[in-house]
Amino acid sequence: MIETDVKIINPLGLHARAAAQLVRLAGKFKSKIQLIRQDNAVMADAKSILSVLTLAASKGTKLQLFIDGSDEIEAKEAIIEIFERGFGEI
């Protein structure tokens, strides 16, 4: 089980297209991947688009990332990378 924080840095936030990218990426891994937004108590499954959109995460939002499974290290690296790239928007 890996636990880390990620931050939304792209100007448009975690909008529909970005969320779709994230869901597609998360779906490639076997591990269970969860995103949690503490300030409004929303837990989302990173492999579900509606769930990720419910986070309503705009620029600057901090999310906790939990990954649990056999490929958790690779999953963590890939997901942190997509957040740091700002979903290809910066």
Partner: protein, 321 residues
């Protein structure tokens, strides 16, 4: 499933209280309009100012709505102006979230002046105290209820609110679609907003995903547009959980099906069935049957128990022969 910390105490500003409280209260602001956004209500329990005005003020709890009714107004009106000012100033005004005057009573001017000076909102309702207290408490209980949003699907199956859980890709949404086709109702897909009200859990869909279902290959579909109004439901009490699990994740399946486990959500325990999913097993039929079984069991009939009893009788009969 990772748990979420409930570190923040739920609260609502007096402004939001005015905006969202039931319309029949006819709330109006008499003083302290500037501080509506600043003062916050943190408890669903109300207090009556009552004895506090007579000098016994140290029982005032912070974060509550303080009710001023006929008796308080009478008490204040029979005091001389100086005494009235003294009585009001003696209250711990910082602790009070807001003052709610009932029955459209006219408060003494001193109360409004002092409240204005201390940025304390004074609101008035047309309802009598007992009705107002009921309405305010109910509203606050719901607004201040601990809340989380979790991943899952909430359906109305027969009379029950059923929460479908399981890892993504296991087929929760497909199972929901199947159940909708059989006449059951979708309440929320993928994200379920859960509120703890008393010892009960209420589930609903976030506004964003209301009536929507995501099916791999089909994308996002609107259930109401496709299947009509009877295919969707609104906020519902959660009675039961059903968790879908891959067959190979099961170490050992209880073939008598005697045991159910409890799922803990916000400290409330909900009965959970764990159903193994594999190709060739019709998940929606299994879920529907599990619900029927649960209904039957809660009416006192347990087929497993029945089987065990029949078996015991055969054993006894064989022994005597």
């Amino acid at each position: 499933m990772k748990s979420i910390s409930q570190n923040e105490r739920p609260k609502i500003s007096v402004y939001d209280f005015l905006e969202k409280a039931p319309a029949e209260l006819n709330l109006e602001v008499l003083a302290g309009a500037k501080s509506l956004q600043i003062r916050e209500i943190t408890s669903s329990r109300i207090q009556k100012l009552g004895l506090a005005l007579a000098g016994f003020a140290h029982y005032i709890h912070s974060g509550r709505v303080q009710i001023v009714g006929q008796s308080e107004i009478w008490y204040l009106s029979q005091l001389e102006s100086e005494k009235r000012v003294e009585a009001i100033n003696h209250l711990d005004l910082e602790k009070i979230s807001c003052v709610l005057i009932t029955k459209n009573l006219n408060p003494p001017p001193e109360l409004l002046e002092i409240s204005e000076q201390n940025s304390l909102p004074v609101i008035r309702t047309s309802k009598v105290s007992s009705t107002a207290i009921n309405a305010v408490t109910n509203f606050l209980q719901e607004s201040l209820a601990p809340q989380i949003t979790i991943h899952g699907v909430l359906l109305g199956i027969y009379s029950l609110g059923v929460l479908l859980l399981g890892d993504s890709g296991i087929g929760k949404s497909e199972c929901a679609l199947d159940l909708i086709m059989r006449g059951h109702r979708l309440i929320a897909d993928d994200a379920v907003q859960i509120k703890k009200i008393g010892e009960r859990l209420d589930g609903d869909s976030p506004e964003l995903t209301k009536e929507l279902l995501e099916i791999r290959g089909l994308g996002i579909i609107n259930v109401r547009e496709l299947f009509g109004i009877s295919a969707i439901g609104r906020q519902k009490n959660i009675d039961l959980c059903v968790e879908l699990k891959k067959w190979d994740e099961f170490e050992e399946i209880d073939r008598l099906g005697l045991e159910t486990v409890d799922e803990d959500i916000l400290g409330v325990k909900i009965t959970k069935f764990v159903l193994p999913v594999s190709p060739g097993r019709n998940t929606s039929t299994l879920v529907e049957t599990a619900i029927r079984l649960h209904l039957l069991k809660s009416n006192g009939y347990d087929p497993t128990q029945n089987l065990i009893e029949r078996h015991n009788q055969i054993l006894i009969a064989n022994k005597t022969n």
